[in-house]
Symmetry: D2
Subunit: 218 residues, 4 copies
Amino acid sequence: MKMKQDIAKQPMIVGQPVLVMVDFQGNGGSGGYVPGVEGGVPHVGTLEERKQRMARARELVDAARDAGVPVVFIQEVHRPDGVDFGRELDGDEDVHCVENLPSTAISMEIGYRPGDYHIPKRRYSAFYGTDLEILLKGLKAQTLILTGGLTDVCVHYTFVDGHQGDYYCRVVEDCVGGSSQEAHDASLRAMEYLQAGARRKAAEILEAFKAIKASKAA
Amino acid sequence: MKMKQDIAKQPMIVGQPVLVMVDFQGNGGSGGYVPGVEGGVPHVGTLEERKQRMARARELVDAARDAGVPVVFIQEVHRPDGVDFGRELDGDEDVHCVENLPSTAISMEIGYRPGDYHIPKRRYSAFYGTDLEILLKGLKAQTLILTGGLTDVCVHYTFVDGHQGDYYCRVVEDCVGGSSQEAHDASLRAMEYLQAGARRKAAEILEAFKAIKASKAA
Amino acid sequence: MKMKQDIAKQPMIVGQPVLVMVDFQGNGGSGGYVPGVEGGVPHVGTLEERKQRMARARELVDAARDAGVPVVFIQEVHRPDGVDFGRELDGDEDVHCVENLPSTAISMEIGYRPGDYHIPKRRYSAFYGTDLEILLKGLKAQTLILTGGLTDVCVHYTFVDGHQGDYYCRVVEDCVGGSSQEAHDASLRAMEYLQAGARRKAAEILEAFKAIKASKAA
Amino acid sequence: MKMKQDIAKQPMIVGQPVLVMVDFQGNGGSGGYVPGVEGGVPHVGTLEERKQRMARARELVDAARDAGVPVVFIQEVHRPDGVDFGRELDGDEDVHCVENLPSTAISMEIGYRPGDYHIPKRRYSAFYGTDLEILLKGLKAQTLILTGGLTDVCVHYTFVDGHQGDYYCRVVEDCVGGSSQEAHDASLRAMEYLQAGARRKAAEILEAFKAIKASKAA
């Protein structure tokens, strides 16, 4: 077992990065916010905090586009007849993200535009039952930079599947929101346990994107 | 969002149960113990605590066999040339579970016998890159009862994939051990968040197995 | 090895059937037809033959709805920037099924209605990188009844993945069209090799659906 | 649709090649041969033809080792209690490849040595429910060169999954054997339909391996 001081931090970005926006949805999401609407999924943070997370995440989207870094928008959806909820209603979560409800749509503030890479999912991991890996292979992606929510559920489990699939995974900790402060913190530690240097701040990623842009101009 | 008092606990066992022994390995495992050998993976608990976890887990194996409940032994393995570690060495874990080392073998104390269902895996989730679902479909499994370790890694992520695959998942909390007390506790809460009633004690499962045995005799 | 006369035909439908309409798309599809448009994918059969296949397939859709048998519409799609074609352009097929082109839409004649189960895919098997299995698990599906095209590509490989996933698979041979007569015939034989009794005619399936409807009224 | 003369043949090997030996098993296999034992799976070809296929395949193994090209041995296995046959006995195939029977072992003649990459599978595609992709990612594989059998079943469907996973796939047509001459021929055409230049002869692959060896010496 490694002693803590021996765990070298990996480079922040290895090879081709891809920015992944997990479930920035009007309701039942994470970094997003819907004043007054619970959305079936518990979420933590004041309205002000959530607006700030959204704003930082939006900055990342804009900087990624500017640097030619691919951005992928994930959206959790469930069929109206409930046939595909599986076990998702057996715990703390209630009905959420039903298709075609306005509250299920990707948040306008996050900068999603028609034509952007959009991947709907019906479970927590953005890899589970989706074409995410098909897209990532096409993009020759090596590093996934995750934002959104819930930190402890969809972000965490997307990170795990990315990790198991050999991707370098980073979580932008000031751009994710969890079901509770405790769960949020524990999951960030869990992700750092899997990949040293996984936990990043938006400011670091912004700098990296600017450097990428500059290197392409050179 | 459900209020805590409204979250009904699900039946402990729904349909066909299967007992899953996650990584009871001499080293780099969990419920198992190897005095003096670190195994490349951090684990928490005194030797005495781990021996007790192992003993309780062993009781479950014997009771499952007695009641005709299928038991599946999962074993994490990695090729000696290191080609399949992926990102697993990028965080807190060091080289672990190398094939053919005595310390990688399933612990003798857990009751594994040649001919038992045995599933080797190369990542954390027992579903990832394995034939576990093929076996579970063949067994018509509906409820997975998880023991072993690490609580926060292999048990947690196997639970998540079982959950996403529509299985009822239970974690026997006094038969799992984590990388730290904190991570162990947080993961048990995460699993309970996903499926109310997921957290169980060995004594409850034992009672359930005895009832199953009795119902078959009737 | 079984002698041909010993291969018992399985019941046509086992448990819950689901009717799967594979790639009935205006162009680049199969059972569908688009006069004068090649669509990037070779297809065989006169316009008249294809119209008849479509008509028979449409009858199945209507009968399935009438009997309460779930119907799933599969649609192959590719991103306009070509990032997700993978190896699909390395052989006989040219660019096909680009998102948002009118010719990629599900054929109007097949009876698809908004709200129906719709699964977009980016490869040949309807299971690959999609949520089909999530839906089938939710429907408790046991038998898949395949129509559409291409017989030798998307239908064949969807059948194989269904077969590997333990589903009873049936191909309605007068409701599928292939890339060539030879490939169509060979694939039907390949599917029958995997599951005796896989090859069915639309008339048989219609009868079965009517019987299901009658049994529910009883 | 491309006209036949416009379909450019792809380079025979793109990037890192990996030689895949599919089910060279004493019985129930393909390129292998077991005089007088049927093995539950139909296979075509005289004993002499099969011995020659095996010999050519063995040459490829030796040349791959000599050139530092990774070799992966796939082996189909089924649990003795039959729990994992799924639908595999519903068609032309009878019980085959039961674990631990001498006839299930990888053929001695093919050059398999303890320590080689070995992947057991329980279905047809070598990707389905196995860690093959984990290994291929670790090897940074880009081109899969398939040998073994059955041409029309395990080789064909492994090719398809490799193709869907963006690998360049090649089938060594004089090193594969099918369930019938007809099925063997049709499947070779199907693989060529997917990737122009997929069909290769052992002599070509041998030359390529020698060139790889020479380039490393330079």
